[in-house]
Symmetry: C3
Subunit: 350 residues, 3 copies
């Protein structure tokens, strides 16, 4: 973790904030509010942390506009967490890899690699691959034939890109991410399963980040797409021919079957399962562990459960299930009362 | 994606179909019905696509026997999708890797590799390993000691085969598939967990295909088996001592605990969880996200839910749970009526 | 699988057991009770296996104290399964890799590797990394900068350790385990998602074993920890800033969101999902496929379901749900009876 030094006033300027107190204090690192010490900057977004903030040893605090927290120095901004993230990047910039190709890397003669690219040990690059300026290819990455990689990407160790896959600019793939393996498609006859052709490709657009060991399968025909600015966590499965829109966030271990469309700005929890041919409309939020049946159209709103229901309904039904023992008891009591009534009626009313 | 050229008549002959219309039309690629253009062939299986088919620009259509779709050229076959898959293989054959061993590969002196094998960059092959004719070992694959690999297999990048594992013929392992890691077995005492021996092996039979990052653990003692013609999707976990039969299909992210038997021709959805010592009988179908309790015997039929139930029962119970608010209202109304009746009875009946 | 030879008497001494019968019988391998032959040793823990045991061809049986199973030779111990595991280690010791560094490995000049370490082919070790005595680094492992690895660890093929990660002694990481990838944290604004800093690290303590393709993310700030003696199965996700205690066992495909604490001696099933900021108190047991809501405190006891409930309650509710059709029928019958009663009351009672 590298460190740069700035004054609080300089940092405030960079994030469009206003500094109060000693703007000349030196800051060299970010930290959590509870543990920040001299030379460190922390942030808070919520009034409930004001008292913690006032006893903090941080050199400077990033706070919401108008939050007059007592502190030696504070920066007021609209979005403290976002400013903190920006400042973290200034104070702890990504280590830069000098452009170089490790002598152990195997680069096909027909590959076209920009001179500013870093290629680590034991990398392999296939025929016809093109890698643009500023991209970092870490150790053990395997790049198939005719792969296209944009500018300023980071491919962490052991990433695998199958033939023909394409990445935009500033794409980050974490260790072991696997892009372009065959989709899971077979045709059954009496003899068994015959492979359905998996001849399409995968397109990953600009500013996508994909977690460790996440798998995005190639399309049978056509392409699988991950749209601009989308973020996928670890160990996710994206099936063939899926179309994931822009700014979609998907948490770890979610599985998406073939031909699912997830439109822009959806938020998908962890361990969610999607059957095939689903459309999730823009703005929908699906809670962790939900299950979505094949062919379903998921409208905007918050969804939960297996199969998914609107969150409100899910909560109500869940509460009702919890009340089942009580309902059972009520039923029993009613049955007893009705039996007594029947008895009473059969006897004369005297 | 390589391309070959055939006439429609030649293709019809190869798939045992009958050609109608211009059998001399040249075909060089497969495509989807909606997007197929000149020189391309598409298929349809269902009458609902007839109208789309009749406006298609495809050079030729593969249709069910008797489906007199208007088209410049059509091939009638019993199973259009299967014929399409076969034709795709003819038109777009897998690129052939010339037999060679990359100079960066580390081959132990005692390994026995057929002269027709392709070995990519940064591969490592342990002592006593045997690799048969026509097999393709892509970059970064790691093959342990005494591993046996059959004919015409494809091991995609970064596959790991632990010591002693054995693969049949025509096995395809996608990137990062991990075969033969230790099973998850420990014995607890006051001090903590002690490793239970994981001394067995894994046997993968002919024509098995395994998805990216799927893990098949070695047996504690004996062997874990994946039977002939079975197909496993991405990110699946198969525990130690499992016995998966022939032509079993398992979708992504399913987890199978130790000592589970899945008999021939079962179909298992995605994200299913199996406890240990389960037997799934031949022909059973288990829906996605289902959970099967340890020790269970799953009979043929369609199963669903956590814990699994016959699909019919699952649907009925699910409907009933959805009706709970209504039941609750009914209960309330009955309680009110019974109270009124009690009141009425206590009063004289006039 | 290597083999050593011992007499039954020698083995009994090593595990603190008492030998009955022919203590001089030679034993060279472990086996299952049902298949054990001459020269092999098996174990049983339960009286229900006595009859199987008495027809076994095993050279020697490990049995509970006082279990006078008829056999040519038996060793009585308190914990037969544990003794069996210990004996397996004696008879089949892990193959020792001679200290060496494969010539294809790329070792940074500033890395400090003990002379007794084994480094396999295509390994890469970053600047400032330290690797202690007796550790085995298998083929394709990638070790970032300033990584610390303790004594007698085993890193199986293709393990990835990001910069700065630290492992204790005797840690075992299976193929493809990925330690220290960025946590999944972003800040949203109108433009999209901005990366929240992931500047912390991961600490894996002594005697931890981690399964194939399991991912443990680095902390945003601070550290993610896996405590001493804990065992994680395959394909698990551990989010940033998690604190997993000592002797915790987690089965395959479980997903743990950020900032979750799991205290010592917990047992977590497979495919469990944890929201963020959960605390699981020491001794809690969570069943497979359970879902734990964010922020929850899970007390000691056995938990099950989505969302989790005490196992007893879960079973009761489950039974009740299964009884819903019956309740529905009861409700219908009551409604009919009440209607009849109303009718009866409206008519004069004679």
């Amino acid at each position: 973790m590298t460190e740069e030094k700035f004054t609080a006033a300089e940092l405030a300027e960079r994030v469009g904030g206003q500094v109060f107190g000693d703007g000349n204090v030196q800051v060299h690192g970010v930290a959590q509010l509870e543990t920040a010490g001299p030379g460190e900057i922390a942030y808070l977004e919520d009034a409930k942390f004001y008292s913690t903030a006032e006893t903090s040893n941080a050199a400077c605090l990033i706070v919401p506009v108008g939050a007059a927290v007592r502190s030696n120095c504070r920066i007021e901004v609209k979005q403290p967490k976002l400013a903190f993230a920006q400042i973290a990047r200034l104070l702890h910039p990504q280590p830069v890899r000098p452009p170089s190709v490790d002598s152990s890397a195997r680069i096909s003669t027909g590959a076209d690699i920009d001179l500013t690219v870093f290629v680590g040990p034991h990398v392999s690059v296939g025929e016809g691959a093109r890698i643009s300026a500023g991209t970092r290819i870490e150790a053990g990455v395997i790049i198939g034939e005719n792969v296209t990689i944009g500018k300023d990407c980071i491919l962490h160790p052991n990433v695998v890109l199958y033939d023909g896959v394409s990445l935009g600019d500033r794409v980050v793939l974490h260790a072991g991410a696997c892009i372009g393996a065959d989709g899971f498609g077979y045709v059954r006859d009496d003899m068994g399963y015959h492979k359905f052709p998996q001849l399409g490709t995968v397109v990953i657009e600009d500013d996508v980040e994909i977690g460790a060991h996440t798998c995005v399968d190639r399309a049978a025909l056509g392409r699988t797409r991950i749209g601009r600015g989308s973020k996928l966590d670890n160990l996710i499965h994206v099936g063939h021919n899926c179309d994931i829109g822009e700014r979609v966030v998907i948490a770890a271990q979610t599985g998406i079957s073939g031909s699912v469309t997830i439109e822009d700005d959806c938020v998908i929890g962890g361990q969610v399962g999607f059957g095939d041919h689903i459309t999730v409309q823009s703005g929908a939020v699906i809670g962790s562990k939900a299950g979505v049946l094949p062919g379903k159209i998921v409208r905007p709103g918050v969804w939960w459960g297996i199969p998914i229901q609107p969150l409100d309904k899910f909560k109500r039904l869940n509460a009702q299930v919890n009340r089942l023992p009580e309902m059972q008891a009520q039923l029993k009591e009613l049955t007893r009362q009705v039996a007594l009534l029947e008895l009473a009626i059969k006897k004369p009313q005297l």
